[in-house]
Amino acid sequence: MSATVPGTVETGVAVVGAGPAGLAAAVSAAEAGAAVVVVDACPQPGGQFWRHRPETVEPNPDGKGHHGWRTYRDLRARFDAGRHTGRIKYLPGQQVWMAEKTDGGFVVRMTPTVTADPAYGTAGSGSTVVARRLVLCPGGYDRQLPVPGWDLPGVMAAGGIQAFIKANGALPGKRFVIAGTGPFLLPVAAGIAQAGGQVLAVLESSSPKAWLPHLKAAASVPEKAVEGVEYAAVFARHRIPYRIRTIATEVLGDARASGVRTAKVDADGRVRPGTERVYTDVDVVGFGWGFTPQMELPLSLGVETRLDADSSLVGVVTERQESSIPGLFLAGEVTGVGGASLAVLEGLTAGASAAAEPDSAAGPPGFRAMARHRRFAEAMHRAHPIPDVWQDWLTPDTTVCRCEEVTAGEITEARENLGARDARTLKSFTRAGMGWCQGRVCGFAAACLGSGPGALPTVASLSAAAKRPLAAPVGIGELADLIPTDD
């Protein structure tokens, strides 16, 4: 199907996303001579990692609370230079709701992220980018595991708390508990403390001992160790308790979160009786279990996928960051969650590759550094796994799908009595993943629950959960504008 709508922009390379990977891809493609169009859902560059106060209010942010801010300043300067010379066309505040492969390249359809805000949507409704090559850098977001009470107001994604502080220069509460697994919990807690909030505890389900088999990989990225020492200093200064092999078993409260029940767990995540403890007077509970790459656009284009070491569904790419679809490049978390430094290296490679001729032999310059970062990421994933028995923490009436209010009991019942073992069948039997967020939040957990106790999801189940006909909510008028033609 093809269609022509008003507001079509043609270009050599289209980049989706303006975070670390997208900015890097745009800059390197433009500097290699390509005409580049950058589409981003946010109203200003930076993505989630370099999210900052609106530049209309704070024109020259000092990067306080950010890591790699010098890298951002460098990329941003080159990005702005590209825009100045007309090499880069920047379409902020536009979310991509559909991407299609055509004979000559790709068609990307956009709609304003926010329809009620003049800061967004300068390109207008129903606009389209037609590009010879496409680089997708959509990033990711916190992966979640449900727990009783996690749908209460005051419970937030760990990354959501960090984004709140970075974007608003304010705190969403005063007293925080942060729980889940992975090194990302550290900057979240440190950021809260540095902004004047009180972190009652960081609950880490794994143990530092889990890093022991991976020390060589960890040592290959020394800057991460330096970062870790910084956080340790912040934790010591603000007396933040870091409790290992500990989970939040329940968020307490009536109309909003007001407390957290915790317990120690064994190496599999099994609660150790007699270790329960309650934190009271809590304003905000932050949860993060690693990250979920934003895979709907790569999947809708049909890329080959694999399960990464953290059980995330990710796209398979070549050394040039090219996917299994010729002319389609992926960079950042969609090729495997590995953090901003790796995302920048991948973006630089993807942009240069997209701007080059298909058979060009130019070796990717950052390949060795990328390999080091990928080894580190794999070590991180193995040291901070989803606990094997996390499903045991649920009660039958624990909400799993927040949008459609589907409980763990309904899902296990559909699995046991109706044979719904994959996310797509669960959708049709229980409506899990059928609401506003389209399974973005519950997709991983529902896929695990469908696979059975202690099981991790399969590629097929995660693909079914993440494959969406529309990648973003869109008005019926924009669908009506898609006039089918005969070709």
């Binding site: 859902a41 109203p43 989630q48 106060r53 609106p54 209309t56 209010v57 704070e58 992220t113 926010v114 329809t115 009620a116 805000d117 003049p118 800061a119 967004y120 977001y141 916190d142 749908d151 209460l152 107001p153 005051g154 419970v155 937030m156 994604a157 990354g159 959501g160 708390i161 984004a163 709140f164 974007a167 608003n168 220069g169 304010a170 705190l171 969403p172 509460g173 005063k174 540095q194 902004a195 004047g196 909030g197 409260g253 009536d254 109309a255 909003r256 007001s258 007077d281 809590v282 304003d283 927040r402 949008c403 459609e404 209010e405 609401g435 506003w436 967020c437 973005r440 939040v441 909510p473």
Partner: protein, 110 residues
């Protein structure tokens, strides 16, 4: 290290903006998201779920989860975490009665 506790903004931030939430006047620093303006004024929930009328507010904070939907100047289904406040903006809870006990002035707890 300068701190910016709940309800206040980073030093150096200029103007204040006044918006209304379900008819109530709220003052916040310019450049805040609607979600931030509400939460830092002690309003943590602003819509009810369709089935069980459970209260909802901010969750993912970055536009993924759609928990924080509000109506902005009559435009429904806007994500409060993404919309930036503007002088005179009228915000309404997204669906359901959107009558929730407001927290105590000091951002208190129940």
């Amino acid at each position: 290290m300068s701190a910016y506790p709940s309800g206040t903004s980073l030093s150096g931030t200029p103007d204040e903006v006044t918006i209304s939430f379900d008819g109530r006047q709220i003052t916040t620093a310019a450049g805040q998201s609607v979600g931030s303006a509400l939460v830092t004024n002690g309003i943590t929930a602003w819509r009810d779920t369709r089935k069980q009328a459970r209260p909802r507010g901010l969750f993912c904070g970055i536009g993924v989860c759609f928990d924080c939907l509000v109506a902005v100047d009559g435009e429904p289904n806007q994500r409060a975490c993404l919309v930036e406040v503007r002088e005179g903006m009228e915000i309404k809870g997204s669906c359901g009665p959107s009558v929730h006990p407001l927290a105590e002035p000091e951002g208190g707890r129940e």
